[in-house]
Subunit: 195 residues, 2 copies
DNA sequence: ATAATAAACAAACGTTCGTTAGGGAAATAT
DNA sequence: ATATTTCCCTAACGAACGTTTGTTTATTAT
């Protein structure tokens, strides 16, 4: 082991854990499992991390911050609601596809966080959803979007995107921008040909 | 215990397991956990079921059959593509909301099925998605739907619906028909006001 | 009343779980 | 050269896991 510093090793652990948590789930992934894939003993993991849950916390809150920051930037821009929605979705998809395994863990395994972390997590998620809801409400006030249940629509929109890591393959031909373009076009304009 | 026959007890086990699998996940739910909620010892469960995985199999394949049958009925009807899409979504939402806990387990925990069951499961799911894809392709041929990536759109549509059990509360005021109406309206007509 | 069946139990099986303790080898700093 | 730190090891801890066994209790059928 020449080139591996402790920081590298820690990141390697988190990366492999991310992959295994996505494939098998957090609860079904054992520390011996994880260590085996890295090529060390389970006990050795604890030279780099404090606990199994710390790994999950790192993954979840890293993703949460990425999503949050990307949306906050867009919020400040002066744009029409439909432009803002499109930009927000592009940004969301970009964060999502930059590490789709971590995203999948973020969306599916957060419930295994212990109580205090869970509280913070849910608060952040709610806050994030509310920012999207506000964009749709603004769009209705501006006369661009029709009357709708904004919360329902946002959850449908985010769900359709967030489920993607389970079938999105990076070797596929769609770029994040194209994915976002497809999704927002359907949500804004619909499938029906406009006559 | 007067009114409980063996069949009732088995159903009770499956029902409670469904609830716990949804809340905690399959791997994080122990047989002692499950037994405790029912009020018996873990060993007693095995008078009624063969294994933990049998419970998951029962839940998953029951739901798979329900979804499949409901769609097959609609496939036979002679309808335009947009009408057929709407009916298919309504039907899908109805099955989903009839037992939203079982649906959540079905969508999130199927990966814990053992290999042979997993194969069957994935084949059924693929088949199901293809039926939806065909509806969108037909709609394009009929001149109703615009050119699009049909598979991508179907996965987005189904994802936006399937994620619902995680936030759908039956005591909410939306009926399955209203939910389906909202979803299909967005997907077919979009959010933008048509001018 | 007696036999048969069903459903629960306590106890234990072997295995795996996350984690800790203590020590040794190799790299780094002094 | 020596001391310190880093990283991994073996060994083991207690707890929890799914499941099996053998037995008791309650219900149902004869």
């Amino acid at each position: 082991m020449i080139t591996k510093t402790k920081l590298n090793r820690k990141q390697q652990i988190i990366d492999k854990a991310t992959q295994l948590f996505q494939q098998q789930g957090y609860a079904a992934t054992s520390m011996r499992d994880l260590a085996g894939y890295i090529g060390i003993e389970a006990a050795s993991l604890y030279s780099h991390i404090k606990s199994k849950e710390e790994i999950l916390q790192t993954i979840c809150f890293q993703m949460a911050n990425d999503f949050f920051q990307s949306l906050e930037k867009i919020e400040l821009e002066k744009l029409s609601a439909d432009e803002k929605l499109k930009k927000a979705v592009i940004s969301h998809v970009q964060v999502l596809t930059k590490d789709s395994a971590a995203s999948a863990v973020f969306f599916s395994e957060w419930r295994h966080l212990s109580d205090s972390y869970l509280k913070d997590f849910l608060a952040m998620r709610n806050n994030y959803e509310n920012k999207f809801i506000q964009i749709l409400i603004d769009g209705h006030k501006e006369g661009t979007f029709k009357k709708m249940d904004a919360k329902f629509t946002v959850l449908a929109l985010l769900s359709s995107i967030n489920w993607m890591p389970s079938w999105y393959k990076p070797e596929g031909k769609l770029t994040p921008e194209e994915i976002a373009e497809n999704v927002t076009d359907v949500f804004i304009n619909g499938l029906k040909i406009r006559s």
